[in-house]
């Protein structure tokens, strides 16, 4: 118990000291990827966790409260899974910065919990030595202990604890075995004394760019570990029979690629077919609640703002929530089961031809739902040039925000006829063509990038293939909850703000009778200003307004066109948006517009994420201009051809 009387009497306490006195202990949870780190984190914190981003980067920061015995709370921060601290990847950099206390708003941790997969102890322990240099209380969690024993391995864990000078706990985090032992360690952690200097840069002692000392450092560390592991009587487990059996199917010369294709098809089906009833449900919910709200508000500018602005705008984005959740459900199952790594192996050869690598498969697949989580997922791409190339081409994947635009234009302009017997109609063919267009642009772009701006030296490719495991519903459920929160927060902030701005632009300058006709409003004027630029594409000022508003998010153009035509044709409600579009837009211009949307980076959230992930404006500006150029020239060519 600390002496409170000195605190009250001492007027010279600095603010950090006061902070130290009042905060609860902070413990960092680290470990290599696939060691069960996040499973343990979820076991310990459950729903008492929150996600944010580390300042300046989009690496997610998970901090959770652990309720230890006797009303004691500690804070646990789940760090990204890493193999080392050389800061070769963003994840490694963040992990190092947190451990060394270099992150804003996060004190240096008071203790470390290092979790390892004890079925492959030697290589997993490579993290131990640098962590011990931090000289703070350390707990070594030997996870997957059950699997070690099942496969005939053994270890004298008390001897290992003695040799390393750390506390040791055996766990099976997936079923919660041994978690109490971790809690006991956490309950004994004290807040670090203020005034003790932080262990600056002890983790980065492996010099980069100096080849020989680096390998020596690794080899020396490894020799030492081999001795330690030997003296602790470690017996390696036998081969994992079940993993071996599954791999002989999933990595089979014929079956492997077939299973891979089946998985991709199921994921797509789930996004585009199975999500539809759920999305209709959400739509109904938004519409009815909007109508109910409209009936409660008196007619006037406020009702117009709430219903036409906020409800319609934010609602048009929230509708994608089911789709995104279903995608993440599948990705979570694929990742936690261990299959995703196999999929990456199968995809690697094709990706490599283009200039990418197998790890880019997951981000690019996620890109079909939304580019933002996809760009974040690209952090697992270890090579920085490959990562940049991956996130540069991600927005070419046909994200779900393009679908409402495609759906509207295709329904309005493409006849329903059959192209290939009963299998493929014109409309489906056009939709497939737009997907293909995106893929083609991505392939060509990656190819060009890797031969110009991101030309790489011959590197290496190595990827861990974790043992297959049954995914835990708890872990996946918690992740889906996170995703929903993040997505709704975005809809509630950026999109909310944009819809209000748009609404205001339609309301001014006011006339005596109220809001101006749309072509005289500020928004209409903006459209007319850019009309000369888009005239060669066959677009008039109305489409221009739609292009401007869709900068916020692609699907916004549907709502905007609805507003513009809705306002114009207020006298005749029976004319649908499709019919008015057919009246105003020629077929070539409509195809041009489709091509424009296939290429253009009409999404400010993506631009913002790109800026944070690349640490500057260079890449997002380049990406935006490049995609706009492709979109404009693509649309121009389309108009000439058709």
């Amino acid at each position: 118990m600390r002496d409170l009387s000195t605190k009250a009497g001492d007027a010279t306490l600095t603010s950090t000291q006061v902070e130290n006195e009042s905060r609860s202990p902070l413990i960092a949870l680290i470990g290599p990827p696939n060691s069960g780190k996040t499973t343990l984190f979820n076991r310990l914190t459950g729903l008492r966790q929150k996600v944010a981003n580390y300042p300046g980067v989009t690496v997610e920061k998970y901090v959770g409260q652990v309720q230890c015995d006797s009303e004691r709370n500690v804070e646990l921060v789940d760090l990204p899974g890493v193999h080392g601290f050389s800061a070769r990847t963003l994840d490694e950099q963040v992990t190092r910065d947190v451990l060394e206390g270099q992150v804003e708003d996060l004190p240096a941790p008071d203790a470390v919990v290092l979790i390892v997969d004890c079925t492959r102890l030697e290589s997993q322990l490579m993290l131990v030595e640098p962590v011990l240099k931090l000289e703070i209380p350390t707990l070594l969690v030997l996870n997957m202990w059950d699997e070690l024993e099942e496969r005939g391995g053994s270890l004298n864990e008390l001897e290992l604890a003695d040799l390393l000078g750390v506390e040791v706990v055996k766990t099976n985090a997936r079923v919660g075995l041994g978690v109490e032992g971790v809690k006991e360690f956490l309950s004994q952690v004290e807040v670090r004394e203020s005034g003790v200097p932080l262990p600056e840069h002890v983790l980065s002692n492996v010099p980069r760019g100096v080849p020989l000392p680096m390998i020596d450092a690794f080899t020396a560390r490894r020799r030492h570990l081999d001795k330690v592991v030997d003296r602790a009587s470690f017996v390696s487990p036998g081969p994992a029979e079940s993993t071996n059996a599954l791999d002989s199917v999933f990595l089979h010369r014929t079956w492997g690629p077939l299973v891979f294709l089946a998985v991709v098809v199921v994921v797509f089906q789930s996004i585009f077919t199975w999500a539809v009833p759920l999305m209709d449900g959400v739509d109904l919910l938004i519409t009815t609640s909007g109508e109910w709200l409209a009936s409660r508000l008196s007619d006037g500018w406020f009702r117009s703002l709430v219903i036409d602005g906020v409800w319609a705008g934010v609602g048009s984005v929230i509708i994608f929530l089911p789709q995104i959740l279903i995608l993440f459900l599948f990705l979570g199952i694929l990742e936690d089961s261990g299959y995703m790594a196999r999929a990456a192996v199968i995809a690697d050869r094709v990706m490599y031809r283009v200039g990418l690598q197998g790890r880019a498969f997951l981000p690019l697949l996620s890109g079909y739902a939304c580019a933002i989580p996809a760009i974040l997922a690209a952090r697992t791409v270890e090579d920085e040039r490959d990562r940049l190339a991956t996130i540069f081409i991600t927005p070419f994947m046909t994200c779900s925000a393009r679908l409402p635009v495609y759906a509207l234009l295709i329904a309005a302009f493409i006849p329903e006829g059959r192209l290939l017997g009963p299998f493929l109609g014109y409309r489906a063919a056009v939709l497939l063509g737009l997907y293909g267009l995106g893929i083609a642009a991505a392939v060509v772009t990656a190819f060009l990038l890797k031969r110009t701006l991101l030309r790489a030296q011959p590197g290496s490719f190595v990827m861990d293939l974790p043992s297959y495991r049954l995914p835990s519903a708890r872990s996946i459920g918690l992740r889906l909850l996170d995703r929903s929160k993040i997505f709704l927060r975005r809809a509630g902030s950026i999109i909310f703000a944009v819809t209000i701005v748009l609404w205001v632009l339609t309301q001014f300058p006011r006339t005596d009778a109220g809001p101006p006709p749309i072509e005289d409003s500020a928004l209409g004027r903006i459209g007319q200003t850019i009309e000369p630029a888009i005239e060669p594409l066959g677009f008039d000022w109305r489409i221009g307004v739609g292009l401007v508003t869709s900068l916020a998010a692609r699907e916004v153009i549907v709502g905007t066109l609805g507003t513009i035509y809705g306002v114009e044709d207020a006298t005749d409600d029976s004319i649908t948006l499709q019919e008015t579009l057919r009246r105003d837009l020629t077929l070539p211009a409509a195809i041009g517009l489709l091509v424009f949307f296939a290429f253009a980076l009409q999404c400010m959230s993506t631009v913002a994420v790109m800026r944070r992930e690349t640490g500057g404006w260079k890449w997002p500006i380049l990406q935006f201009s490049y995609m706009l150029f492709l979109a404009y020239s693509g649309a121009f060519i389309a108009v000439q051809i058709f």
């Binding site: 080392g84 030697e122 290589s123 980069r208 100096v210 080849p211 390998i215 390696s236 490719f461």
Partner: protein, 97 residues
């Protein structure tokens, strides 16, 4: 960084008698010892961190559908690219040991 200078190659430069063996030439289930990594440090680091160090034992366990090797090192299963496997100089374990 100069790729061709000997300094950028990692590990001992002792040549094996009877020519050099590369990991890519090793048949399945044949355990070998890693001698040297012929990669600049940036490329070698991901390997080193995963325990692929000179002196370690590597065993190719299967071939991926695209013909790339999948190897076992210290109980970890690692997928390599053919090109990476060809940068790993190995030697057969003598029967005596």
């Amino acid at each position: 960084m100069g790729l061709d200078t000997p300094k950028s190659m990692l590990g001992s430069r002792n040549e094996e008698p009877g020519g050099e063996l590369r990991l890519g030439d090793i048949p399945l289930s044949q355990t070998v010892e890693l001698v040297r990594i012929d990669l600049p440090s940036e490329g070698a680091e991901p390997l080193l961190e995963r325990g692929v160090l000179p002196g370690c034992q590597i065993c190719p366990v299967r071939s991926s559908p695209t013909g790339d090797p999948i190897v076992s090192v210290d109980g970890s299963l690692l997928a390599l690219r053919r090109e990476t496997a060809d940068c790993l100089c190995v030697r057969l374990l003598s029967d005596a040991s």
